[in-house]
């Protein structure tokens, strides 16, 4: 028989500390759906998604009921459409089919309107990239991502320049809906192939036919555990985080393996993440503040975040048979009540967030910036993030929302899990000449590491 204390601890984690499984994401290969006939490709994609993922939502709900742990999101990721759609060039048609399938199944996002152009781009990929604003603004559930840099190949600055324009066009096309298109589009360096989180999930070419990847959560659980550590030193804090992360991850592993079995898919990975939500008590910022910072964003924030991120991984690795995805604490500003507060108070700046991304997952995420921010400035921000990822051999990403007509200090509400954010200032330094040069920033040396 289990210990009463252990059972009650789990129940408290779910009831009071927002423990949940953030997402079960079914990663589907669509490589066998490519066709030179655009309509044929649409039919194949739709049929395959409905066949393999049709029961995803009810499976998630069944597991949630049996185990007594909420599974917040059920999602689908697919092979990059830049590849599946290249024989026909019917990219936007495929986006609409993805959207239709996602709505019929009842998932809240489907990811994979993606391209991998970290070294160079083919004519077909360039044509695909140009369709992103149209595809994302004319669908509701489809998420898009583009990998523009990698540690092995460097930073494709031609793609970076294009991405700044893409973000701006997305904002413009969805200006009547709070530029929501930008929340569904992310630019990566070192994108991973088994990421379960949106907007960046896609099924990498090294992945199998159908795989369940799980993203865990639980910032509130970690914060609650640390609140009981008054006066303890940071070595002990790291230990408590590790123990807590172990338990959270075990829940994710259980849900993932059961879901895979029920869906006739393989179990892929648990993404060891602390993903916040805008709910009070579900904040990564709060954890850093419980450690002793009066506000996230102050000096010491990067160190505290590094400790948290590392301890979560160390605790989680032993709890799961397979770990992957982005694995790290997320710091999406609009989705974290503590981050929102600090940004509103001016305690958290874009520069500090950039430093934080060097030690955690994933990047400058869900940050609203003024509507008059130029495409070149957005590209320059992307280039900086890519440099951090490429040099440090980690994934970084940028998901910025230049809100049309928005000024510094205005509030934008994206609704639901996407939360709300104050518009943060960006530097007024003109970086456009640097961005217009294009070319490749070569891959960094992998020796002489000082």
């Amino acid at each position: 028989m289990l210990e009463t204390g252990d059972i009650l601890e789990t129940i408290r984690m779910v009831d009071d500390q927002n423990l949940d499984v953030r997402t079960i994401t079914l990663s589907l290969s669509l490589l066998d759906c490519a066709s030179s006939d655009g309509k044929e490709a649409e039919k194949k994609v739709y049929d395959k998604i409905m066949r393999r993922a049709g029961k995803l939502v009810q499976t998630g709900e069944k597991l949630s009921g049996e185990l007594g742990i909420p599974i917040v999101n059920k999602r689908i990721s697919v092979t990059p459409i830049s590849i599946v759609g290249s024989p026909s060039g019917n990219y936007v048609g495929l986006a609409k089919v993805l959207d239709k399938a996602a709505k019929e199944i009842g998932v809240n996002f489907i990811g994979g309107y993606s391209a991998l152009v970290h070294k160079s781009m083919t004519d077909a990929e360039r044509a695909f990239l140009e369709t992103i604003p149209e595809a994302i603004s004319e669908t509701d559930m489809v998420c898009s991502s583009v990998n523009v840099a990698s540690t092995r190949s460097g930073i494709n600055m031609d793609a970076v320049a294009l991405m700044g324009k893409t973000v701006k066009e997305l904002a413009e096309r969805t200006r009547n809906d709070r530029a929501i298109g930008c929340a569904k589009f992310v630019v990566f360096a070192n994108a991973v192939e088994d990421n379960p989180f949106m907007a960046g999930a896609f099924t990498g070419l090294g992945e199998g036919e159908a795989t369940v990847n799980v993203g865990v959560s639980g910032p509130g659980v970690v914060a609650a555990a640390l609140k009981a550590c008054k006066g303890k030193d940071l070595t002990e804090i790291a230990e408590v985080i590790k123990r807590t992360a172990f338990k959270i991850t075990r829940a994710g592993q259980l849900v993932g393996s059961k879901a895979a079995e029920l869906l006739g898919a393989k179990f892929g990975i648990v993404d060891l993440s602390l993903a916040p939500t805008p709910a009070i008590g579900d904040s990564v910022a709060e954890i850093l503040e419980v450690m002793g910072l009066s506000s996230v964003g102050g000096h010491g924030t990067t160190a505290a975040l590094a400790l948290l991120n590392d301890a979560v991984k160390k605790g989680g690795v032993m709890a799961s048979s397979m770990v992957g995805g982005l694995s790290g604490a997320f710091i999406p500003v609009s989705e974290d009540a503590g981050m929102i507060r600090a940004a509103r108070n001016g305690k958290l700046t874009l520069s500090k967030l950039e430093a934080m991304t060097a030690v955690c997952s994933v990047g400058l995420d869900m940050i609203a910036v003024p509507g008059d921010t130029s495409a070149e400035t957005i590209s320059a921000i992307i280039a900086d993030e890519c440099a951090i990822g490429v040099v440090n051999n980690k994934t970084t990403a940028v998901r910025l929302i230049p809100v049309p007509g928005g000024k510094v200090g205005d509030e934008v509400d994206f609704g639901g899990l996407l939360g709300s954010a104050p518009i943060m200032p960006v530097s007024d330094v003109d970086s456009s000449e640097f961005i217009r040069r294009g070319g490749i920033i070569p891959a960094p040396l992998h020796s002489l590491k000082n």
Binding site: D6, L8, E9, T10, R250, A251
Partner: protein, 89 residues
């Protein structure tokens, strides 16, 4: 299938009897019970076997929650696997 039933609420006479009757009604076999009072709060954990249950898990879960409301306690049932996973290596 084994499951954990947790009963939490303000203490009063007859909670165990009430819950045991409900279990019997749905053909649920009680394998183990642990019960205590925590700061005046009735806390009971039961390990149950659903092999002979007369309804499916989802129906049982909803019924237990509803019947718990009637007698003024919170009754929930969860698959044992979650607790095993989180607390046993």
């Amino acid at each position: 299938m084994k499951a954990i039933v947790t009963v939490l609420g303000k203490d009063k006479v007859g909670i165990i009897a009430d819950v045991a009757i409900i279990m019997k009604e749905f053909g649920v076999n009680i394998c183990d019970i642990s019960q205590t009072l925590m700061q005046g709060y009735f806390t009971m954990i039961m390990l149950v076997d659903l092999e002979t249950a007369t309804v499916d898990f989802e129906t049982l879960r909803k019924e237990l929650a509803a019947r718990g409301m009637e007698i003024g306690v919170d009754i929930r049932i969860q698959h044992q696997d979650l607790f095993d996973s989180m607390h046993k290596i």
